[in-house]
């Protein structure tokens, strides 16, 4: 269980780094994939480059931090390279003191890759191999050099680091020099998600008959609700039939009425044709 503690404390350090001047630190963020430096909260962001290599001092977590200091192994170094140059240390991860001023401008002009690397194992760096990530240099400059890390972890191992600008980097990358040649970092730690389980419908299979019965019962509606569309026309027909039956005796009484009606209808129909003939 020792390493779990180490991890927790390691995560904590990381979170401190990204919030160097922030007093309050929520523990909840550690387990979530939330960002530590949200863009929606600019007042939290440090306008200055992250000041020191030493861990930031915050009162609620100081004690844990001193624990962490005693175990210096979990601090890993961050190396960077300009284009094709070799990797040079950029400081431990906790503090990026190095600035870009000595090679950055050339890099921005040529829009080459800015590469970083991390050890793949935080307990015994560099682990099996270094984890490399890179971004086109012109993606980084904003006010200062804004960078965004997503570190994918598996136990003490770092699987991959996604490095880039915190926002978008639209394609025609224009040359823009930052106001400050220092980094402001945002870091997210990610662990693997659990896959959703395949749905299991065993309950239904076990009590199949009951379940079916239950399904049928709510479907049972009143007779009227089910058959109203048949009943209404039926009713109309019946009513019609009744009125017809009521009229019947009257018709019999005045037998000539329908006989008169027919020729009159015929006259109406023939009307236009006679008109044609007259033309």
């Amino acid at each position: 269980m020792k390493w779990v503690e180490v991890i927790v404390s390691f995560i904590l350090t990381l979170s401190f780094l990204s919030f160097p001047s922030c007093g309050f630190q929520s523990d909840e963020l550690l387990v979530d994939d939330e960002e530590f430096g949200l863009e929606g909260a600019p007042q939290h962001r440090s306008p200055e480059p992250i000041p020191t290599r030493s861990p930031p001092v915050t009162s609620p977590t100081r004690k844990r931090h001193s624990d962490l200091d005693s175990d210096s192994k979990i601090q890993f170094s961050l190396d960077h390279a300009f284009g094709d140059s070799d990797f040079s240390p950029a400081g431990t991860f906790s503090a990026r003191l190095k600035t870009w001023s000595h090679g950055g401008q050339n890099l921005l002009e040529s829009d080459d890759f800015y590469r970083i690397r991390l050890p793949s194992n935080v307990l015994s760096p560099p682990g099996r191999d270094f984890i490399i990530s890179s971004v086109k240099a012109r993606c980084l400059p904003r006010e200062s050099l804004d960078e965004h890390f997503v570190i994918h972890m598996e136990g003490v191992n770092v699987l991959a680091v996604n490095y880039g600008s915190p926002g978008s980097c639209p394609y025609p990358r224009n040359l823009k020099l930052p106001a400050k040649w220092s980094f402001s970092s945002h870091t997210v730690l990610k662990n693997s998600e659990q896959a959703p389980r395949a749905p299991v419908f065993t309950e239904e299979i076990l009590g199949g008959e009951n379940a079916e019965g239950e399904v049928v019962q709510p479907a049972e509606r009143s007779f009227w609700a089910k058959y109203w569309m048949y009943l209404i026309p039926l009713g109309l027909i019946v009513m019609n039939a009744i009125t017809q039956a009521m009229n019947m005796p009257e018709e019999q009484a005045t037998g000539q009425v329908p006989a008169q009606g027919q020729p009159s209808a015929g006259a109406v129909q023939r009307g236009p044709s006679s008109a044609v003939r007259r033309r």
């Binding site: 890179s134 598996e154 991959a160 990358r173 693997s192 659990q194 959703p196 389980r197 299991v200």
Partner: protein, 984 residues
């Protein structure tokens, strides 16, 4: 947009009306064809039965046992053993059982010769691994029971031929003993087991065949050691080579006494070059050795004296001995001469006299003769006749008799490595085309027959005529391009290094070509074909060129041996050119750029991570320079568990200036922890896949944008412990992690763990989704999962006003260096079958809904609608979702028997499924290959854009004529009536 979504809706609707793809009985064979093969023959045994049909039983490198008709080469029956059940030996026992020894000598089976039913199976264990031998002595009896002698795993068994029971067994446990031969001299009750111990000691065991008792054990040591195989020259003499390959050792063990003689090869052959090897054969008195250039036949005369009988520089193949009478043995010898092969049959003791000498014309495309099997028969004039079965370099099997090829089988097609397709020539006046229709009368007659069929007036004879007419339709096998794009050439590369072009209409071989570059040569010892790529696909401005394919191969099994490229014209099958590279080929990247002759640019990565550009023309270089900064690729190191991304850097900085060579650099890497994850599957999208629309309209008038990137990689890793067989680990120590990785920046876009799951993982990637299949140890069932990935950065483009005013980002270029805003949806389902392959249908425009094609363990192809694997399925879909076509969620995927694409057929040994879009949007072409080949057309949403093939045009015509006539008649009638009215 609205029209599109409406169209999609119609599609969904129509597909939901007919969710099942199925076939009527009389449609079998109309669109599909099926071909059965067996693979390269390893061993052949002729059935010596007097009565009944002549047959030959063969075992092959594809682990097939088959009984073939000796007259026509057809398959009577065939069994495909498992991939790890390699056949070591076959024979015929008692004239009616086929005996097979397989799995490194641990499984012995007996099959009934006439029908191929299995009679018995016994499992043979032993103390250690060894060579295995199967002997079927003709006269060794044991209580009226014929006995099989099997040596396997360091143990000698005598097994009853009737029921497979082990009668006795004898262990050879000496640590270093390596068995070389097991001999049972006919007419005696002895078995000799000879072999080497500690590589310099010759050991001979004499065993009583009745009870397995060890009668004698002798050994003799030879300081010079041994190398290679031994050749048996008589029942009590073997010939071996010493460790330098320059001295022949003739060892005889008559009466249990070992005596030996050493003869340097240089004494026999003056100009011997380099070390020799013995060609394994079993002709008594004669053996053959082969040096680099020469093959020498040597006769053993009496007490270990050797005499050279023939020396030849031709390629040669020798058969085993065939005893034709009590004391006479015959064997066949095949020699190559320019375009012919010479077959000679000789008696073993009489080298100079030939029983038979024939010359047969042989197609160069078949290469060299690899194996010869001889069989005799009695001619009409009561003399002996001989027929030989030969296995060629291209794995084809031929029967020669009376100087002719009686039949041939193209069994190279049983081992396909890679498949690509090519269009056929456009129909033009100059192009010779199979005649279209015979004449108008025939055409009309055909349609009248069809009409009769439709109106159910046809007699059974008419029905048969209609059916045969449909099957033989000349339309489908023409050699020109058709309007619907159904006719294509399937270009396949086989393991033998031969290219075949198969016509999709009827599966016939249009041309075949044994690649010269894959021929064994001094520079290239054991060339292996790797992949096929489309090199040149002419359209637009290069219409007159023939299309060509690129065959990439390398000179040996390891990946750092130099590569060979060859370019083959797909219309003619001619090898246009071939290049022997000075660098290895680790990875081939077809680039999405073509030059003015439509040649595709390819980037070849070698073992030192240098990139080489092909074709090597200045035009290609200038195109490449333009896109220099936009080329990214990745490499997967399975063994280390590392995935790396690369980009180009600059020109090679070597001593030789090569402007087509580039240095590369690593941009990103993902290192999987070796103690918890092991890569088992990596899948990307097909390069040529077409996606119709990025937007997906969901139920409540909402739009989701698919995250469509060509640079997505699906990776599946499992716990190293769980990479073995299913059930070898507990659910707690096994897990499977699925990743979606962007291959330009190395970002992990999605990562999900399935606890208690295990490989093997089969996956397919298409559009914005990936479907993968694995085993769930907790549920004890196979499972399939789907992950769909959607782009959130475009999700707010729903407002119509934004679209009207142009305030949307739909047309802005996407850069992968931006932080992606994606969401994923996933769901898992149980599935009954285990899989051998998985593919997805692809159509020309990508409009038609997709089906997954699953190669099941039963060697069939099952089509499953993608809608069953939709992560938005819920138990109770709303009305709107139902209208959209969402199926209520179930825990397992249905297997609908009608949706087997292969209907009643089986594609034995299924290895791969390839889908090719036709020009007709609704239709896709499916080619499944394994030991068998199967091809069909598939319409996942029915053929909504064309009339079916059996549509009755005559009925339509008659209806139209009748309608027109009716119009005229009624017109006349109404006119007359009107006139009468007017006159009234």
């Amino acid at each position: 947009m609205a029209i599109r979504s409406f169209f999609l809706f119609i599609l969904f609707f129509s597909s939901s009306l007919s969710p099942v793809f199925s076939l009527y009985e009389d449609q079998v064979g109309l669109m599909d064809w099926h071909q059965q093969y067996i693979g390269k023959v390893k061993q052949a045994v002729f059935s010596s039965q007097r009565a009944g049909r002549k047959r030959v039983v063969v075992s092959t490198e594809e682990n097939v046992i088959a009984s073939l008709d000796l007259r026509h080469g057809e398959i009577f029956w065939r069994h495909l053993l498992g991939a790890d059940d390699v056949i070591d030996g076959i024979d015929i026992g008692l004239g009616k059982y086929v005996i097979t020894l397989s799995s490194g000598g641990s499984i012995l089976r007996s099959w009934n010769l006439p029908d191929g039913q299995m009679v018995w199976e016994s499992s043979l264990q032993g103390p250690k691994h060894s060579k295995s031998f199967l002997l079927v002595p003709t006269n060794l009896k044991f209580d009226k029971d014929n006995v099989l002698v099997v040596f396997s795993n360091g143990r000698l068994h005598a097994i009853s031929c009737i029921d497979g029971e082990v009668l006795w067994k004898k262990d050879f446990e000496a640590e270093s003993f390596e068995v070389q031969q097991v001999i049972q001299p006919p007419g005696s009750d002895l078995i000799y087991v000879v072999g080497f111990a500690a590589s310099y000691q010759f050991e001979m065991y004499q065993i009583n065949a009745k009870n397995g008792e060890l009668l004698k054990h002798e050994s003799a040591s030879f300081s010079s050691g041994f190398s290679g195989e031994v050749s048996l020259v008589s029942t009590e003499t073997v010939v071996a080579l010493d460790s330098t390959g320059s001295i022949l050792l003739t060892i005889s063990f008559q009466d249990g006494k070992i005596s030996s003689q050493q003869t340097p090869i240089s004494n026999l052959v003056e100009d011997s070059l380099g070390p020799a090897v013995i060609i394994p054969s079993s002709v008594s008195g004669i053996f053959a050795i082969k040096t680099d250039a020469v093959t020498v036949f040597i006769r053993v005369i009496g007490e270990g004296k050797l005499e050279v009988v023939e020396k030849t520089t031709h390629e040669i193949a020798v058969s085993d001995a065939l005893s034709i009478s009590e004391d006479q043995q015959a064997f066949a010898l095949i020699q190559h001469a320019s375009s012919e092969i010479h077959l000679t049959v000789k008696l073993a003791h009489d080298w100079d006299g030939n029983l038979l000498k024939e010359s047969v014309k042989m197609d160069w495309q078949r290469g060299l003769v690899h194996k010869v099997f001889i069989n005799n028969y009695i001619r009409t004039d009561r003399s002996y006749g001989f027929r030989v079965l030969i296995v060629m370099e291209d794995h084809s099997l031929l029967l020669l008799q009376q100087g002719e090829i009686v039949w041939s089988r193209e069994d190279g097609l049983a081992s396909i490595i890679d498949v690509t397709t090519s269009e056929l020539p456009v129909e033009r006046n100059g192009v010779s085309v199979a005649k279209v229709e015979h004449n108008l009368f025939e055409w009309l007659k055909g349609h009248m027959l069809k009409l009769k069929g439709t109106l159910m007036l046809a007699s059974p004879e008419d029905m048969a005529a209609i059916q045969s007419m449909r099957l033989k339709s000349s339309e489908k096998s023409k050699m020109t391009r058709d309007h619907n794009g159904f006719r294509k050439l399937l270009i396949v590369l086989t393991r033998a290094g031969k290219l075949f072009a198969l016509h999709t209409g009827d599966g016939r071989i249009v041309w075949s070509h044994l690649l010269r570059s894959l021929h064994k040569s001094e520079a290239c010892q054991s060339p292996i074909g790797l992949n096929l790529y489309q090199w040149q696909v002419p359209h637009h401005h290069a219409m007159d060129e023939n299309p060509s394919v690129l065959v990439v191969s390398r000179c040996g099994p390891s990946s750092d041996t130099p590569g060979v490229l060859s370019f083959v014209d797909t219309y003619t099958g001619k090898e246009l050119s071939s290049l022997s590279l000075d660098h290895a080929v680790v990875q081939v990247i077809p680039l999405p750029y073509t030059d003015s002759t439509e040649q595709r640019l390819h980037l070849l990565i070698n073992a030192d991570k240098h990139a080489h550009l092909y074709p090597k023309t200045s035009e290609a270089l200038s195109i490449f320079k333009r896109e220099f900064l936009n080329i990214y690729w990745y490499s997967v190191e399975d063994q280390n568990g590392i995935i790396k991304g690369h980009a180009l850097k600059c020109k090679c900085t070597g001593e030789v200036a090569d402007e087509f060579c580039f240095d590369t650099r690593d941009l990103w890497s993902v290192v999987f922890p070796s103690e918890s994850e092991k890569i088992v599957a990596t899948v990307t999208r097909k390069l040529n896949e077409v996606v119709h629309t990025q937007a997906k309209v969901v139920a409540d008038q909402d739009v989701m944008y698919k995250y469509i990137s060509r640079n997505l990689l699906f990776v599946a890793t499992v716990a190293p412990k769980g990479s073995g067989e299913i059930g070898s680990v507990t659910p707690e120590e096994s897990w499977l992690v699925a990743y979606l990785i962007d291959t330009v920046t190395g970002r992990i876009l999605h990562r999900v763990t399935h606890h208690g799951s295990q490989g093997p993982v089969h996956a397919v990637f298409s559009e914005n989704w990936v479907v993968y299949h694995y085993f769930n140890l907790r549920a004890h069932r196979y499972e399939m999962s789907v992950i769909e990935i959607y782009d959130q950065s475009r999700a707010d483009n729903k407002d119509v006003w934004k679209l009207v005013l142009g305030k949307h980002n739909l047309t802005s270029p996407i850069s992968l260096f931006s932080r992606p805003e994606v969401i994923t949806k996933s769901q898992s389902y149980f599935f009954t079958h285990s899989l051998k392959a998985i593919a997805v249908t692809s159509t020309a425009k990508g409009i038609t809904s997709k089906q997954l094609l699953l190669g099941t363990i039963g060697d069939q192809v099952l089509a499953l609608d993608k809608r069953f694997l939709d992560p938005r399925r819920t138990v109770n879909p709303t009305q709107a979702e139902k209208e959209e076509g969402i199926i209520p969620l179930t825990d397992s995927l249905p297997i609908i028997p009608q949706s087997y694409v292969t209907h009643a057929l089986r594609v034995e040994g299924l290895r791969g499924i390839i889908t090719v879009p036709a020009k007709l949007e609704s239709t896709t072409l499916v080619f499944a290959h394994g030991v068998d080949l199967f091809f069909t057309q598939l319409a996942p949403s029915r053929t909504y854009d064309s009339l079916t093939e059996d549509f009755s045009y005559a009925l339509l015509l008659i209806t139209i004529v009748a309608l027109v006539a009716a119009i005229f008649v009624t017109w006349r009638l109404s006119e007359r009536k009107e006139l009468q009215e007017k006159w009234r």
